[in-house]
């Protein structure tokens, strides 16, 4: 291979990059994505079914332990559901009394995950909805009815790329569901866990507290679940404390998501 050929190859690479930057290769990109999405979505769906959404147990004892934990959670959930229903009723009554308007202007768009990240340093997934379905940049993405998993970072005509919450560039304003309603910033880039930083030192965070989105960001509404506090790191003489969170959802086994179109 002569040096001239190497120069030609790199010139072609840079010309294509420039053309893509100005959108000139859009028609070819759409055709390639269509074919790529067909293959990846089929294999991805089969792999999620095969690998299963449930946890695997190494022994009968583990299975029994998992069952007992689940039963406890279910019983607690029943009690919480009852209290929640009563609180909702009371809240609705109070709102009516005070003349507040109902805020329920969220609309969702269902989407399927068709591929995972192709980048070694990033945690992203590809969904089969794009600009023609009304998807736009920075729209929040949830799963399971209310678990926040990321936001839209790249939009094409028929597909979009979602940056997951455990991606190194993901930063979300969050609130801990404790007595103080502590606020902080949940960041990704720590493997499977999330880290919540800038929590005021004088506020009490307990292991097991849930963390939700704070609604302080323009596109992300209040109340979407991020995860649960696993570890609290509190050092004396530091102005802020940290918490390590684990998401409720296994971010490697997501099959369907919803994009919040408006909030």
């Amino acid at each position: 291979m002569r040096y001239r050929n190497i120069i030609i190859i790199f010139s072609v690479v840079f010309i294509i990059i420039l053309l893509r930057h100005f959108g000139a290769t859009g028609w070819a990109d759409r055709k390639i994505r269509f074919l790529f999405n067909l293959g990846s979505s089929a294999v991805y769906n089969i792999s999620v079914s095969y690998n299963g959404g449930a946890s695997r147990f190494n022994s009968v004892d583990d299975l029994k332990k998992g069952y007992v934990e689940l039963l406890d959670k279910y019983n607690k959930n029943v009690v919480d559901q009852t209290e929640l229903a009563l609180l909702k009723e009371e809240n609705a009554g109070l709102r009516e009394l005070m003349g507040f308007l109902e805020r329920n202007d969220l609309s969702f768009l269902g989407a399927e995950v068709i591929s995972k990240s192709s980048d070694a340093l990033r945690n992203t997934i590809v969904i089969n909805r794009g600009s023609k379905d009304g998807v736009a940049m920075n729209m929040p993405v949830i799963t399971g009815g209310g678990f926040y998993i990321g936001k839209i970072r790249k939009v094409e005509l028929n597909s979009s790329v979602v940056q997951l919450i455990n991606d190194q560039y993901s930063k979300i304003a969050a609130t801990v569901l404790n007595n103080n309603k502590s606020i902080g910033v949940v960041e990704g880039g720590f493997g499977l866990s999330l880290q919540m930083n800038f929590i005021p030192q004088n506020e009490d965070i307990l292991v097991g507290n849930d963390v939700i989105t704070s609604g302080l960001e323009a596109e992300i509404p209040y109340g979407l679940i991020l995860g649960r506090v696993d570890i609290v790191e509190k050092e004396p003489y530091q102005p802020f404390q940290k918490a390590i969170l684990s998401p409720y959802i296994d971010l490697n086994k997501i099959r369907t998501v919803s994009v919040l179109l408006s909030s």
Partner: protein
């Protein structure tokens, strides 16, 4: 007509490669899913056919991956094409023998150049603010497994192919000027 058939054959091969890649990444457990089927194909093609058209095929493969990356344009395609050009030149000018360890070494070098060039782009163009130590540690762990498993697979495949297919036989050497 012959040219059209060649193009069609290459499209079918690339499609099968992509399907095989999805199977490896989505089905197999870690760390086996770090095997890079594309670099195995590139190295076997370079050794078997000794043609520079492989660089254009590599360009096509990395262009498809670029379509799904959130990194700036060129972060995937430039390191990818660079790594294939470098190993092709290495094979022609340095590794002139045809053996399983040549395949394994070229595979390791190609992946190393690809990943390190990507990391260099990230740091040089200041895209690195926010890369935590854990992400870098995971990156190098995955890189280690990718190099180890991919080069082992390349060496093994070349060894098996050299026994069955004349093209990969040890006594078939072409000098390219």
């Amino acid at each position: 007509m012959k040219v059209l058939l060649k193009i069609l054959k290459m499209i079918i091969v690339m499609s099968l490669l992509f399907l095989f890649h999805f199977f490896i990444v989505f089905f197999l457990p870690k760390p086996i899913n770090t095997i890079n089927i594309f670099f195995i194909f590139f190295i076997l093609f370079i050794i078997g056919w000794e043609k520079s058209v492989i660089v254009w095929l590599a360009w096509l493969v990395f262009y498809v991956f670029e379509l799904y990356a959130v990194t700036p344009l060129g972060f995937i395609i430039v390191p990818g094409v660079l790594s294939v050009i470098v190993v092709y030149l290495l094979y022609i000018n340095v590794f002139t023998n045809r053996s399983w360890f040549t395949g394994a070494a070229l595979s390791a070098i190609a992946i190393l150049i690809n990943r390190l060039a990507y990391l260099a782009l990230v740091y040089t163009l200041n895209y690195s603010s926010g890369i935590s130590k854990i992400v870098l540690r995971n990156f190098f762990t995955d890189l280690f497994w990718e190099i180890t498993l991919t080069s082992a697979a390349t060496g093994l495949l070349f060894f098996l192919l050299s026994k069955k297919i004349n093209r990969f036989g040890r006594d078939k050497v072409q000098m390219i000027f």
